[in-house]
């Protein structure tokens, strides 16, 4: 489970970030013009950026932001998408049509473009970028959950629940949804990586996290003007994003293999 190792490692780094970063103050708007754009060396293992801030410190401190974005976006799109999908799948008929066609409208616009539009409309900030991504992604959950609920609602235990007079809402949320938990978990862990990537993209374009936050996408954006000579400015935040997204994807795949016996060898 390489994914689990990477993700646990990231969590530890995020938790201990202020202790791990050699120059914790460099996470902010600090400037040290005397040491700007230093290549990786002993004092600054990953070099410094155009304001003289230590890149290692900023990458480490950025872990917190990144994990926060990944988790918040995933939870938010789950909170919107799961109930909508569950209700649509259970009730069927007109409700299903209405909810799923609404989801279709959201899905008909490429998620990045939609998120970009929403983030811009809301005024660029990290919080708004997270809201924007969740708005673009909830239909994804709705579809997966709806499919699950469609098959679960035909199961005998649902009939049994109705035989003892369980109200419909309670049938959906306390009898059917707990059975979807493994699917939700797998989808969520796969989505964290995606959310991080999209948030980085939004920051890169300028509608996500704003300077001086040590957000990786923002660092890429700031560093791209210094390529190719100042290669370290974009390489290390890029590697950080790569490893994080890979970690969450591996974790999601691993969880799916464990929780879905059909894929188990």
């Amino acid at each position: 489970m390489a994914g689990a190792v990477i993700v646990i490692g990231l969590c530890l780094v995020a938790a201990l970030a202020p202790e791990l970063a050699p120059y914790p103050a460099d996470g902010g708007a600090m400037t040290h013009l005397a040491r700007r754009l230093r290549p990786p060396g002993r004092a600054y293992p990953l070099g410094t950026d155009d304001l003289g801030r230590d890149l290692l410190s900023r990458v480490i401190l950025g872990t917190r932001l990144t994990l926060q974005i990944g988790v918040v976006v995933t939870l938010l799109s789950m909170v919107i998408g799961v109930p909508i999908g569950a209700v649509a799948g259970f009730l069927g008929g007109k409700t299903d049509e209405l909810l799923m066609r609404t989801a279709d409208v959201f899905q008909s616009i490429p998620p990045l473009i939609l998120a970009l539009a929403v983030a811009t409309a809301l005024r660029p900030s990290m919080t708004n970028a997270m809201i924007a991504i969740a708005v673009a992604w909830w239909p994804w959950y709705s579809r997966v959950i709806r499919g699950q609920v469609l098959s679960l609602r035909e199961r005998t235990f649902v009939e049994a629940a109705r035989c003892i007079g369980v109200p419909r809402g309670r049938v959906i949320f306390s009898h059917i949804l707990p059975n979807c938990l493994s699917v939700i978990l797998v989808q969520a862990s796969l989505q964290v990586g995606n959310a991080i990537l999209t948030a980085a993209a939004l920051s890169f374009i300028g509608v996500g996290a704003q300077p001086p936050l040590p957000e990786w996408g923002l660092m890429l954006s700031a560093g791209r003007g210094f390529l190719p000579e100042i290669w370290w400015y974009v390489t290390f935040p890029g590697i950080a994003i790569f490893v994080t997204v890979l970690g969450f994807n591996l974790l999601g795949d691993g969880l799916r293999d464990i929780l879905d016996p059909r894929l188990r060898r």
Binding site: T156, A160, C163, I164, G165, H175, P178
Partner: protein, 341 residues
């Protein structure tokens, strides 16, 4: 002896039956056409009585049960008839009123106990759920306590421990006990049991039936037992209604129907029991096949398979003829008797 019994419940109009089904018809709209699953059946269950609904697979027993609880989901519909429970017309109740009735007044045990329990909820909590839904004032703790007591009543060893198990950790017999606990913990007045023992081993079957009979006495509930097993019926029921292709063809006390069956289908069904057939003799079977419910034969549904069919049998649907106070047969062989409406 039973036919002459003067105090047949419900027959005199003194005490109304607990459940009274009149002329119930249900159909399903399918792509292949309208499928009539239940065609105008009538029967009643008195308080504390065990009525057996017997018939082959697909004759409409389960649909009848679901109709009583109003749990037939689209494309199925109740197209005609009246279902009265304690005098209330169930088909006229609102969905909320109906929901309050389910599980508290009328409960239903389903066929496959292991499938009927929610795989991700501890069985004790599933039993407690019935209580929590119908007695809002209960705390989760008291409900769980009463659930555990109920498990003890059902003869489950070490109930607190079993209550914390998940369904996949239980045997089929144990799962069915949990199911029974779930349905009886609120002491409903009517329990519908749809093939409660079909998925179980023969030895467990007997235990479960004994248990249901004992519980029925203790909490004074009536039982509508749906089965295709004539042995189960003979051992358990007070009265029996025999269904064929969506209709009740004969009903009466168990003793009457078993000893003196009057409908050719019931007679044939009873002859299929391999009681004293010599080892080298072929087993008896009713010739022909169950008719398609999409294109039911005109007249009596059993006529194409009946050895004693007459011209009238394929022209008209036979009404119910009364052979005794509580013995009705839907067959033209008895048209000299008074018809029941």
């Amino acid at each position: 002896m039973i036919a002459a019994s003067p105090a047949a419940p419900g027959a005199q109009g003194a005490a109304p039956p607990l459940l009274d089904v009149q002329d119930l018809r249900t159909h399903f709209e399918t792509y292949a056409g309208t499928l009539v699953a239940v065609e105008g059946i009538s029967f009643s269950v008195a308080r504390g009585e065990i009525l057996g609904l017997v018939g082959e697979t697909g004759c409409g027993k389960s649909v009848t049960a679901l109709a009583i609880l109003r749990l037939i989901s689209p494309p199925g519909r109740i197209s005609r008839g009246r279902i009265r429970f304690e005098g209330r017309d169930l088909l006229a109740l609102s969905e909320t009123e109906m929901r309050e009735l389910r599980g508290s007044q009328i409960s239903m045990i389903l066929q496959e106990p292991k499938m009927a329990l929610n795989p991700v909820i501890r069985v004790g909590d599933q039993v407690a759920e019935t209580l929590l839904i119908h007695e809002r004032s209960l705390t989760r703790r008291t409900a769980t306590g009463r659930a555990v007591e109920m498990l003890a009543t059902l003869g489950i060893p070490d109930p607190p421990r079993i209550a914390r198990r998940y369904p996949h950790e239980l045997s089929g017999g144990m799962a069915q006990r949990i199911m029974i606990a779930m349905m009886l913990v609120t002491r409903p007045k009517l329990l519908i049991a749809d093939e409660p023992t079909s998925a179980l081993d023969v030895t467990i079957q007997a235990q479960i039936l004994e248990l249901m009979k004992a519980l029925k006495r203790e909490i004074d509930t009536a039982l509508l037992l749906i089965t295709h097993d004539l042995g189960v019926m003979a051992e358990t029921c007070d009265r029996v209604a025999v269904m064929y292709a969506g209709s009740v063809v004969e009903q009466g006390s168990v003793a009457t129907v078993l000893k003196r069956p009057q409908h050719p289908y019931t007679q044939g069904l009873l002859r299929t029991i391999p009681n004293d057939v010599a080892p080298d003799q072929p087993l008896y079977s009713i010739r022909g096949l169950v008719p398609s419910l999409l294109q039911p034969p005109t007249g009596c549904a059993f006529a194409p398979r009946c050895d004693r069919a007459m011209p009238v049998c394929v022209q008209a649907v036979p009404p119910r003829y009364a052979l005794g106070a509580d013995h009705h047969v839907a067959c033209f062989l008895h048209r000299d008797r008074p018809a029941v409406r």
